[in-house]
């Protein structure tokens, strides 16, 4: 499993629309898991000053994360693989 971040520019996004998108991605991830693709939404960070959202996913490959976002109808600028680093890992 690799970790990916989907970067989104969402100018004018409302808190309700953010929560609605979260509910969609959660439901689509469950649907894809049922189809045999183990892709998961881990967490998201909203950057209000930039109207940008960074959403982190785990999945077998970038294509599955892209498919998840498309099925959930959530636009993104790009999806890139990330390497996780925490204070505990140093």
């Amino acid at each position: 499993m690799a970790t990916f971040v989907a970067i989104r520019n969402l100018p004018g996004i409302t808190p309700d629309a953010l929560m609605g998108a979260g509910a969609r991605v959660k439901s689509c991830a469950a649907g894809m898991q049922g189809e045999g693709t183990d892709v998961r939404w881990i967490r998201s960070f909203f950057l209000p000053e930039k109207s940008q959202t960074h959403c982190y996913f785990e999945g077998p490959d970038m294509a599955s994360v892209k498919e998840l976002n498309e099925r959930a109808q959530i636009p993104f600028v790009e999806i890139v693989e990330v390497a996780e680093m925490t204070p505990a890992s140093i």
Binding site: D16, M19, G20, A21, A30, G31, E35, R71, Q73
Partner: protein, 231 residues
Amino acid sequence: MSNLFNPDRVILATTHAIERARAQGRNEVEPDDLLIGFLLAVSRFGVAQIGSVSVDLVALGLRFDLDEPEPGVKPRYSLRAAGAFDRAVRVARGDGAGRVLPIHFLAVLGEPGVPTFDRLAANHGLDYASWRAALASCTLPDEATMPADAPTEGEHAATVRPPEDSALLSPEEAAKVLGMHIQTVRGYIRSGKLPAFRIAGERAIRIRRHDVFALLEDRGPADGVATRPRN
């Protein structure tokens, strides 16, 4: 807990909606798929009880089983279905709920133009307003309005034994100490009558023991029945 208020039923419903679109070889999940998914997810024995309205899913022509999905079909939410999620969240917020529940989806999906709702409305002599009125008559349980620390199903007060030396209590433990119902204590927390704190980064709520005891007024001997002024 009624399935209308069971957050776990949301994933069950949406999964059914997605599977339904796949089984029919469609590339988009429509609001009708979602409505059917939610009706099935809140039903028991093929009946979805919405207030005084008993929706017989068999009479609506709904099937519980689905055909084998078409290979290669990976349906996405249609824009209209995606919008239903946002509206359900808005309804949930307006309802004072901490999260979006099946009842909130049913409130936005039961609208004219959604084929299953049109059939349901015709069968029951309903319109959009009376559908929402039926949903509104279903009481939102207090725990659904609490964003955190809701007791899990099966958890009950009898299992709660607060340690005597604990400075902090959970809402369940506070209810036990006060000899009150947990929902009453939650109401006190919501209204600010009982100060409560969230553990940083966690969902759990804790109450200081001395705040719990501060609720107990010393009424004194002069406040008894015998000293009450006579009319």
